[in-house]
Amino acid sequence: MKTAAAILLVLSAVPVFTQEAILIRNGTIVPVVGAPIPGGDLLIEKGKISAIGTGLAAPAAAMVLDASGQYVYPGMVAPLTALGLINPPGSDSDINEKGLSVPQIDPYDALNPEDDSIEVARIDGVTTALTAAGTGSLINGKAVVIHLDGNLATEMILKRNVLLVFNTTARQANSYPSTLPGVLQFLREKLSKAREYGAKGESGKNRERDAEMEALQPVLNRKMPVLFQCGDEVSIRLALTLINEFSLRGIIASASADVLKYAEALAQKGIPVIWSGTTALPRRWEAVDLNYHVAAVLAEKGVLFCFNESRGQGSRGVRRQPVPAAISVAYGLSEEEALRALTINPARILGIDHLVGSLEKGKTADVVVCSKPLLQLSAKIRAVIIRGRLIPLTSIQTRLRDKYLMIVRERLRRRESQGLDSRR
């Protein structure tokens, strides 16, 4: 890995480019679909994975990364973030447009490749993320899936119009709907109205274009799923009611162990779960480790689920994705399932699993090399590759460290040269 480190240092000083070919040699390759390959090689050509095996030959122009003693994984997929919309402090964020129903809002229109949170997340191994326009309103905007690399919004996009976000906990403080039954009625009325609007269109009648109603059509004709941001039991039930009534392709996002009450139904209907409650505090009447077990039970019941440790959509904590996975393994989830819930499962839930989420021939070369298994939170990230590009392992935080390490050392040195104890 010394070779790789040397190459990385050089790279941080050169402009963005994609290597023609990279050969990662002699690492433990963990494809997450299928068994790990000890002493394995992974070849990347033109941004795609072109071969996985042992004893692969390096093409002439290939950069070779020695991964001896290291672990090689697909990049992680973060299923519900606001990366690219979280502006620096002092300026307002571009999350959560005002209004109870704003499905016409597209985060693509505000996507900022300069968002510092992107670098911070990717140097810890997150290579793909869903960026949603918001989650706080009843009917929120659309979502895009981005590669965490690119200098222009267009360069970052993996997929647009991925889903809409509804929130079945979005009671309003002093106006309708202020209760959960009101929330259900509100959403039901909007979807019914949109269905009528759509029917008019199909019958060829002249209609006035309505951006909101237009934006709801893809979820009614099942071209786009609806991600339901839920909380406890009742709000999950409301989501399931709407999914059933309007034959929606639903996704349940929740931090409540109450999802377990619906685990069988969710598995049976193929409704996936974005689970963000592993590190949530249990309720007073619950066992201390209840939330730590939820992922294991979801897996056992056959629910397709993934982890989300973003802690609020605008959070900059996307890099914490492995935390709930590690805890869940301690409490009964298999390591294989935990790794899938960070990679291929979110890719499946977002409908991008044919492109990313596993190490397979032909897939996008999003690869992470770690010093230890990824579920060890002490694992150091040795290399990150996105679409075949070796990413400099730098962020606002490494730059601050480098700057202040020099400044602090210089002050210590000065004090010593004055004959003063640098430490007192």
Partner: protein, 420 residues
């Protein structure tokens, strides 16, 4: 104030009465200060550690817990939390100067956050006033003896610490109400004014005590003021300060302020920019209290940096990993592992950040923070090495008594109705 003192005396009596005997046998003992003992035993008698080692003779009658294959470490210590009380009670935000508030008065000893924190191997916490005020209340140190009377939880043998706070919170919370401070300059003025008045108050009382001591009977005592009574103790160094500061410039200001008034800074909490002034922290002897990887949730937190620990370590700062929240307090050991992700630091160095280092910050390192003979029998038992991120805490013992047992309280336990 007199009431407060009387209360403290009672409390220390309470905690002695709860002591017990137990032996943990056959585990890997991470002593923190004296290396690792494989296949070792920790013997606790009357709540204190009486032996640590390979060939410990367990006296007849002492209950034995077999911890073969397990890892034993000192109970974890969190030198900055707000657990064990109602969150609505932690900020007396009606005035920027409230040193008359004592957190020990509002301890809820069966608060659910004690139960959940214990389950993460934590045995001692410092529970704090919030950051609304420039000078908040007096913090309290608790042993997490869940369900006992509050006075049995309170630890009173370190110097108490006064909470102060600089930066965005006090200037926003008070400034928005149209009063000082509404700027950082205002915050500095509020702090200086309070300590100046307290200094005058102390001088009056010193004069009075001197006159009394010299036999003058006719002198009248100055009027009591409970706010300045607390600050008088800070000026007498009978109390120290834990100050909430994010920015480097304010850290430098605060350390100078402490020199100006000759008062003792014990910990700087939320010390986001600490790495930028690691040399200043080290020189003052103040403890860095912070998080492993929080950043950017507000402007003054923007430079929060998990890579900063190596700079702090190199400069010789006493580093404590804090939770500042009920949820993070349950897995301080995972946060210690995360510090290793971003910094080349040894297992020993990061385990110290959740044991002996915070103990030093509480001035209780002679009593807790490592497994050594004579120290409190506070122990956390893990099924794997605590820096293996797939480990779990299976038992927490305080002064020889089991306060958390996963086999009894976990989802799978029969009493919990079995796993769902």
């Amino acid at each position: 104030m007199r009431m407060g003192m009387a209360g403290l005396l009672l409390l220390s009596l309470g905690s002695v009465a709860a002591a017990q005997d137990v032996a943990l046998k056959g585990g890997t003992v991470l002593t923190i200060t004296r290396g690792i003992v494989d296949n070792g035993t920790v013997l606790i008698q009357k709540g204190k550690i009486t032996a640590v080692g390979k060939d410990v003779v367990i006296p007849a009658g002492v209950p034995v817990i077999d911890v073969t294959g397990r890892f034993i470490m000192p109970g974890l210590i969190d030198s900055h939390t707000h657990i064990a009380m109602d969150m609505s009670d932690i900020n007396e935000a009606t005035d920027p100067v409230t040193p008359q508030i004592w957190m020990k008065d509002i301890v809820v000893s069966d608060h659910d956050t004690i139960r959940t924190t214990l389950a993460g191997g934590v045995t001692t916490v410092k529970t704090m006033h919030g950051s609304a005020n420039v000078i908040g209340g007096v913090n309290v140190v608790l042993k997490l003896k869940y369900g006992r009377l509050p006075e049995e939880l309170i630890v009173s043998d370190g110097r108490p610490q006064l909470k102060m706070a600089l930066g965005e919170n006090p200037k926003r919370l008070h400034g928005d109400k149209g009063r000082s401070p509404s700027t950082r300059g205002g915050t500095a003025w509020v702090a200086r004014k309070a300590f100046s008045e307290a200094r005058e108050y102390k001088a009056k009382w010193d004069e009075y005590e001197k006159a009394r001591a010299s036999g003058k009977k006719e002198v009248k005592p100055p009027a009591r003021d409970l706010r300045w009574e607390t600050l008088k103790r800070v000026l007498e160094k009978k109390m120290t300060i834990d100050c909430h500061i994010y920015r480097a410039d304010e850290i430098e200001w605060f350390l100078a302020f402490c020199r100006e008034f000759d008062i003792v800074p014990m910990q700087i909490s939320h010390c986001v920019d600490g790495y930028k002034v690691a040399d200043l922290l080290a020189r003052s002897g103040v403890t860095f209290g912070g998080w492993s990887d929080w950043w950017g949730f507000k402007e003054e937190a923007y430079d929060g940096n998990p890579f900063g620990f190596s700079i702090l370590d190199e400069a010789g700062v006493n580093i404590a990993i804090n939770s500042d929240s009920a949820d993070e307090g349950r897995y301080l050991f995972l946060n210690a592992a995360k510090v290793q992700k971003y910094n080349d630091l040894s297992d020993d160095a990061v385990l110290r950040m959740i044991t002996i280092n915070p103990a030093k910050s509480l001035e209780l390192d002679q009593r807790i923070g490592s497994l050594e003979v004579g120290k409190d029998g506070d122990v956390a038992v893990f099924d794997r090495h605590p820096l293996d991120s797939t480990c779990k805490c299976i038992m927490t013992i305080i002064e020889g008594e089991v306060f958390f047992d996963l086999a009894r309280e976990g989802v799978s336990a029969p009493a919990q109705g079995g796993r769902q």
